[in-house]
């Protein structure tokens, strides 16, 4: 039987290809080797290691000044656009809010098809009807939705293949992250930490949508970690997962950052460490079983979601080869962890921090809560946040956007939990230069920067993972929610709320080129190649803009 299968299989394939040529198939094998086909952008952060680093090197520090806009695609709807496009063999797949998917020609930006899903009107999200993109396996795209469904979509036609509800939308579960495909499974997490959900990460069979495993980020009775909660607080403990994780195929572990505990700002309502809120969890990719966890901020009072991208780096550590995880956390510390065991290796503040005095030898913060009415550094949006960082194996530097000199005065209150309703436990105001001056919001609803650099400003920071120290920084007047892309020609691309799109020298932080795109950049750039030309795409405001080198005269 075995022999029979072996000799008939090629024949079957041959017959099939005679009538239908195969579509662009993104096999798991291609996803594993995504770094080796830099013409494509197959995974949210570029590769499973999530370094957001590309081997493309046509654009260089020497010629970056010749970058010019090749095309622009305008969003069809209003609202911040945080999507990360994928590019597969010349076709770009990008989502827009709430849950549209578009297939574009990556060379011209013209549209092949558009799929529109209308989420339930019951969908509730704290911070905008965002969607951060799709994942691909075979010829199927996967999109999470605002009403906590996962939808499989035919990449050729934009037609839905299956649509599965993962949780009850009436309890304010949502999905805003781009899924991660590992082997034959699609892995997603749910948002809703501001509404007292019980967060989870789930893996679904890519072909059928059948749920393969589910890991609750808040352990229930009898599960390890449950004793870090008192009474029923775990039932509405939050622990949302709203940024895509990473995967180490050698260890068969998938890593995910977990969001804040609920209620956000009143830790007295949930005494204990509140595992696995504000943690990274390492799960067996086949079973979802917890291998290890590391909690950055126990019993969080500051909304320090640990939803940053887990960046996996193999490098020497104190003289020996090591498998590391690098992590600039919202709580203001930069961490290096051993990703095999979860062991804490080092932690250094990268911005001003006063909520903790230091980290102990196991990486646990020694907390120093500030008196009521006094400012806490970093503020509510953190030293950094969800926007993707980058690591360049060439420079061996870790790059991310940070908020400098930014603090918040927190206020805690007792909140009553009502399913599906806001469950915040207080609030906060941003520290203003003069006490008692009118408060400043953290959003930017007009093109006027009424915040100014007196309340905080953004910077791109290059950190040496070995020392945790800054190698260089690139200051911006406004704050920035932009992710970072680096390339093998030692270029760094990023943006910020001011709407400038920058190319920096990744070794020095020197500005090489910029374009004023006139809309907030609140996502990360990607790069790809079509017909021998390297492109760089970024979303600014309501426009997806794509650049390449000007053709030589």
């Amino acid at each position: 039987m075995k022999t029979f299968t072996r000799c008939t299989l090629p024949l079957v394939v041959l017959l099939a290809s005679a009538s239908y040529q195969l579509h662009a198939q993104v096999s798991y094998d291609r996803l594993l080797r995504a770094a080796s086909e830099p013409r494509n952008w197959l995974i949210y952060s570029g590769t499973y290691a999530s370094q957001r680093y590309s081997l493309l090197n046509q654009i260089t520090p020497a010629n970056a000044a010749r970058l010019e806009q090749k095309w622009m695609f305008q969003n069809q709807v209003f609202g911040a656009w945080q999507s990360n496009p994928l590019v597969v063999d010349g076709i770009m797949y990008v989502t827009e809010r709430p849950n549209d998917v578009l297939a574009l020609d990556a060379k011209t930006g013209r549209v092949f098809w558009m799929y529109r899903y209308t989420p339930s009107p019951d969908a509730r999200v704290c911070c905008g009807a965002n969607n951060r993109g799709v994942a691909i396996l075979g010829d199927t795209l996967f999109m999470g939705t605002l009403d906590a469904h996962l939808i499989a979509i035919d990449a050729t036609t934009g037609r839905p293949r299956w649509n599965i509800a993962l949780a009850d939308v009436k309890l304010a579960y949502s999905i805003t992250l781009a899924p991660l495909v590992v082997k034959d499974k699609v892995i997603v997490g749910v948002g809703g930490g501001e509404f007292g959900i019980r967060g989870f990460i789930a893996a679904l069979d890519a072909r059928t949508g059948k749920e393969a495993w589910r890991f609750y980020t808040i352990p229930g009775p009898g599960e390890p970690g449950h004793d870090t909660w008192k009474g029923d607080a775990w039932k509405s403990g939050g622990g949302s997962v709203w940024v895509t994780g990473s995967f180490d195929p050698d260890l068969n572990l998938t890593y995910w950052g977990v969001g804040n505990p609920a209620p956000d700002w009143n830790p007295d309502q949930r005494p204990g460490d509140n595992l696995y809120s504000d943690s990274v969890v390492a799960l067996d990719a086949d079973t979802g079983k917890l291998k290890w966890h590391f909690q950055f901020t126990p019993n969080d009072a500051y909304d320090y979601d640990s939803v940053q991208i887990p960046v996996l780096v193999d490098m020497n550590w104190r003289g020996a080869a090591a498998k590391l995880m690098l992590w600039a956390n919202r709580n203001g510390y930069f961490y290096a962890l051993d990703r095999v065991t979860g062991r804490f290796l080092s932690g250094t503040p990268f911005v001003k921090v006063n909520w903790a005095s230091h980290l102990d030898e196991r990486g646990r913060p020694v907390q120093t809560p500030q008196p009521a009415g006094s400012p806490t550094w970093p503020g509510n949006q953190g030293g950094t946040n969800w926007y993707p960082p980058s690591y360049s194996p060439r420079t061996q530097l870790f790059y991310f956007s940070a908020w400098e000199n930014y603090a918040t005065i927190y206020r805690k209150e007792t909140s009553e939990f009502q399913p599906g309703r806001n469950f915040s436990g207080g609030g906060f105001t941003v520290l203003t230069p003069v006490p008692g001056a009118p408060g400043v919001g953290i959003g930017r609803r007009t093109p006027i920067n009424n915040w100014t650099d007196e309340v905080g400003h953004g910077a791109v920071i290059a950190v040496d993972p070995q020392s945790g120290e800054r190698k260089w920084k690139f200051d911006q007047f406004d704050v920035t929610d932009s992710g970072i892309l680096t390339t093998a020609s030692d270029l760094l691309f990023t943006g910020g709320r001011e709407g400038y799109f920058y190319s920096l020298d990744a070794r020095t932080g020197t500005l090489l080129w910029k374009a004023s795109l006139g809309g907030q950049i609140v996502t990360a750039p990607i790069t790809y190649e079509v017909e021998g030309k390297q492109f760089v795409s970024v979303i600014a405001g309501h426009a997806l803009v794509t650049f390449a080198l000007r053709d030589q005269e």
Binding site: F112, D154, P160, R161, W162
Partner: protein
């Protein structure tokens, strides 16, 4: 000038319609032609072949004597019956009962005419609807009035049996050679998985009898030859002044820059054959029923 344009346009259309695949056009001519469309010419060609134009727009059409449709007398009969027997609960516009909008052809359970007739005869006791003892011609009339969208001058297409329709779709009708439904079938022709959610029975019948007259302009077949001699055929997905996007015969998404093309043609007639002479009126009604039952994933 205007007359001249129209004359050239007809000539161009004739070339396309009679010799699809042979004619050649400069890219500039194409935009002008698309704007006009070639349907009238096609209709004329059809009448020369002795096929009656049965498929006038539902909006402007009058009652037909085609076997696939109910007669004006049926609709008239149904109208009177409806006012006397049904309007009390269903309302003058047919949407007074939750979950049903009779005028728009939205029912809780029914798809086919048989289903509707059964509901009229048996009622829906759970929902409080009684059964009505009516003559067959009266039942036909009610169904006709509903199918005509409560419009005495509307077209009332017969809607047959879903299961039999599916059999015809996948068998005798040969539809699955090009169309895709719920993940089965090729992608070269438009996917029909939710066609019943976006088309009326009249529009479906029109597509079946005269595919060209019902074809969305965007779906027109494309043939392009690149400067290096590559020929690409497919169905158009999108087009602008400088580029065109299509799905080719190998079901690949292709984007072409017009300046890179040596030839570029659009066919104005649909590659889909009419079922007018290949399926009986009952089979057509069954096929309409099947298509009407396709509501997509949601």
């Amino acid at each position: 000038m205007r007359a001249f344009v129209r004359l050239t346009h007809l000539l161009v259309c004739a070339v396309i319609a009679l010799a699809w695949g042979g004619g050649r056009l400069a890219a500039q001519d194409i935009a002008a032609r698309i704007e006009k469309g070639a349907v009238p010419l096609f209709a004329r060609a059809m009448s020369r072949k002795g096929v009656r134009p049965l498929f006038r727009d539902a909006a402007q059409g009058t009652a037909q004597d085609h076997p696939g449709q109910y007669s004006a007398i049926d609709i008239e009969t149904g109208s009177r019956l409806y006012a006397g027997q049904c309007a009390l609960c269903h309302g003058a516009t047919g949407d007074a009962v939750a979950g049903a909008d009779l005028r728009r052809g939205q029912f809780r359970r029914s798809v086919s005419d048989e289903d509707l007739a059964r509901v009229v005869a048996m009622g829906i006791p759970d929902a409080g609807m009684p059964g009505f003892k009516l003559q067959p011609s009266e039942v036909d009339g009610l169904v006709a009035f509903i199918r005509a969208g409560f419009d005495l001058t509307g077209t009332a297409v017969r809607v047959g049996h879903v299961g039999r329709g599916q059999g015809i779709f996948e068998g005798k009708g040969g539809c699955t050679a090009c169309h895709r439904v719920n993940e089965k079938g090729p992608r070269v022709a438009p996917d029909l998985s939710d066609i019943g959610a976006t088309r009326t029975p009249a529009a479906l019948q029109r597509s079946l009898l005269n595919p060209t007259s019902a074809m969305l302009p965007i779906n027109r077949p494309v043939r392009a030859v690149t400067r290096d001699g590559r020929t690409i055929r497919g169905r158009r997905l999108n087009e602008d002044t400088y580029t065109v996007q299509l799905i080719d015969e190998q079901e690949r998404l292709v984007s072409l820059i017009k300046a890179d093309l040596r030839e570029y043609e659009l066919a104005t007639s649909s590659p889909m054959p009419s079922v007018a002479n290949t399926l009986t009126a009952d089979e057509q009604a069954d096929l309409v029923a099947y298509l009407l039952s396709l509501k997509g994933l949601r």
